[in-house]
Amino acid sequence: MIPKMLIRGGRVVDPSQAIDDVRDVLIVDGVVAEVGAGIELPEGAQEIDANGLVVTPGLIDVHVHLREPGGEHKETIATGARAAAAGGFTAVCAMPNTDPVVDDPAGVGFVLAQGTAAGAARVYPMGAISVGQEGKRLAAIGEMVEAGAVGITDDGNPVMDSGLMRRAMEYAQAFDIPVADHPEDLGLSGYGVMNEGLVATRLGLHGKPNASEDVHIVRDLLLGDLTGGHIHLQHISTAYGVEAIRQAKARGVHVTAEASPHHLIFTDERVEGFDTDAKMNPPLRSPEDRDAVREGLADGTLDVFATDHAPHHYDEKEQAFADAPNGIIGLETALGLGLTHVVAEGLLDLSTLVHRMSVAPAQAFSLPGGTLAVGSPGDVTIIDLDEVWTVDRDVFLSKSQNTPFHGWALKGRARYTIVGGVIVWSVGA
């Protein structure tokens, strides 16, 4: 029996209902029962004083790698779900590029069960597009959705066969899930390990041109035209890609897309000195690309702010640049970065950032939540906009420390993360 909870006197920012005002939020039996002024504290209810704090629908990260099964030395579903909660996320979508790949209903059930057992952020499994993510034949898409998968993707080993991608986008429509793609033509990427350009040339590192991403963004958008299916484009990093998505949306393609914190903040200059915490895929690109991604997030071309949380053990990152794996962790820094480097810099207002981190991800993947409407899940993030804190990877709840933001001072942080009316994380807890 879940106790009642009253969140008292916070500034409720719920873009799904166009609310930005001081309200109380009452959660009963794990769902939102009332949002209003001067709600009386029910008997036996837990009261949270949110005076001076911001109360939003729970934040959702639709792009995380939790590494379990197979990569438990990097992260487990439990550590990842707790890291998510510590970052203010009430739900995450777990990528299926594990070992074994989540490409059948048993794999989906495993991720769901581990997520439930963790008792932190909700964990929604994603299934693979193709068996083993080998790009050859369709995985058990219907059965995986039946088991609880919220979307499919071959992120980590993207589908090169455009015919197979077309079939996936056609087939998935029966199940109302998006087909998520890491858009990258692996042939064009070659053995590139960073953005192709002057920095790569100087460092003697092989580059991936923007075209390697753009070719597949355009392919997927054309397949959207062809099939009418929902394509979700992951971690967009190029100016051309942003513009292509903008145009596709204008002509009615069913496309949603992500922007990742690092692509909004860094350029390939960050690779200088061969820092492997600046190695990710897609890579950090030019200043023009970074600015276009920012613009895309601002105007909603990129609907969703998602981290691509990619934990790696320090042994794996502690190598020469070309030999280290791609990716950085993001769950415990995304909100602070969004508030400090997106909202405080005037790119988005607070309500729009909450939209990109809650409403839009819920809509893109048809997830419960993303709103404080009465009857929706009691998933709430309570944010202290004024807290100045320093990123310290040594105290992360994530099992890994691979972040380029270590030591950064950020302003704004989740104070409480509430899932189904239960506090799963709070500052100092």
Partner: protein, 323 residues
């Protein structure tokens, strides 16, 4: 255990971070060391008691032997570690290797590694001096230094000369170190090769780009002809060695069109009949064996300077000859 600071700093990772003055210091210090190699007893006690590990993750007989001669002629104790048939096995990371070396209290490491940035990586993790003997496609500073010394021997200067690197610039650490070093010393630099083997935005470094070797020959005072790795064809960068030789290979017929004195350098080992024809390699323009000789002197200079030797006492140091 800390090393004495030198005019170069602790390590020689690349030429990009060096000033013109530092590069000239190395070249000038190499001059007195050239002479030691001409003696009957080719040994001075400058590095007596110093332990140097030559750590080669990639095979390179030529560079390793050159370093080893340089080390031995300065009386250092040397150990060679190569990936094949040694304790450096797959699975042992570069970090572990670094820690092991540190634990053995060696003074200096000369490293060749297949990954760009590996030398910097090691240098940041051990107190010993690190000399980069080639890291991936990044830098090979001693090769560029010996190339520059050879050019200077012939022309008496570097500044104002036109030097063109020909061939696979994309994968070449020799090319990058030459570009950085030559530009620092005021040379004009060009690159020439098929576009598939030219790195993106290379012109932004301040180099001229030629697509045909005939243009380079018209322009240059020096051609530095790079080795073409035969794997490049399988990877689809080129159609065939025959075609490469016809279009970008340096032949005496093409050299006849040179308007003036033109020096031919090659870092070796050569693919005769591919990037360079035998009559050129063995002809009057070629400085290839002179480069090999200078390689030992330049490496002696680097070893000497990094271990705290003063540039102006190099002349005196060589007088401490044994025997």
């Amino acid at each position: 255990m800390s090393q004495p600071s030198s005019s170069l700093g602790k390590d020689l990772v690349g030429l990009e971070s060096l000033s013109a003055e530092q590069i000239l210091t190395i070249l000038n210090t190499a001059e007195p060391f050239k002479e030691i190699s001409e003696r009957r007893i080719k040994k001075v006690p400058v590095l007596r008691g110093k332990t140097i590990v030559n750590l080669f993750f990639e095979a390179s007989t030529r560079t390793r032997v050159s370093f080893e001669f340089a080390e031995k002629r300065l009386s250092a104790d040397t150990v060679n570690i190569a990936t094949s048939g040694s304790s450096v096995v797959k699975g042992e990371t570069l970090v572990d290797t670094a820690r092991n070396l540190e634990a053995m209290r060696i003074d200096m490491v000369v490293m060749r590694h297949g990954s760009s940035g590996a030398a910097k990586f090691l240098a940041e993790r051990i107190p010993s001096n690190v000399i980069n003997a080639g890291d991936g496609s990044h830098e090979h500073p001693t090769q560029a230094l010996l190339d520059m010394l050879t050019i200077r021997d012939h022309y008496g200067k570097i500044e104002g000369l036109k030097v063109c690197l020909v061939g696979d610039i994309l994968h070449s650490r020799v090319a990058r170190s030459n570009v950085f070093g030559l530009l620092a010393l005021g040379a004009e630099v060009a690159v020439c090769g098929p576009k598939t083997l030219l790195p993106r935005d290379i012109a932004e470094l301040g180099v001229t780009v030629f697509s045909r070797v005939e243009e380079a020959i018209q322009w240059a005072d020096v051609l530095n002809v790079l080795r073409l790795q035969l794997e490049r064809m399988e990877a689809g960068f080129l159609p065939s060695l025959r075609e490469y030789n016809q279009v970008w290979g340096v032949s005496s017929a093409k050299l006849e069109q040179a308007p003036g004195d033109l020096l031919i350098l090659h870092p070796g080992p050569m693919n005769r009949g591919v990037e360079i024809d035998s009559d050129v390699a063995d002809g009057p323009h070629a400085m290839i064996l002179h480069q090999v000789t200078n390689g030992v002197a330049v490496r002696m200079a680097v070893l000497y300077l990094l271990t705290g030797g003063a540039p102006d006492t190099a002349e005196a140091a060589k007088e401490g000859a044994e025997g």
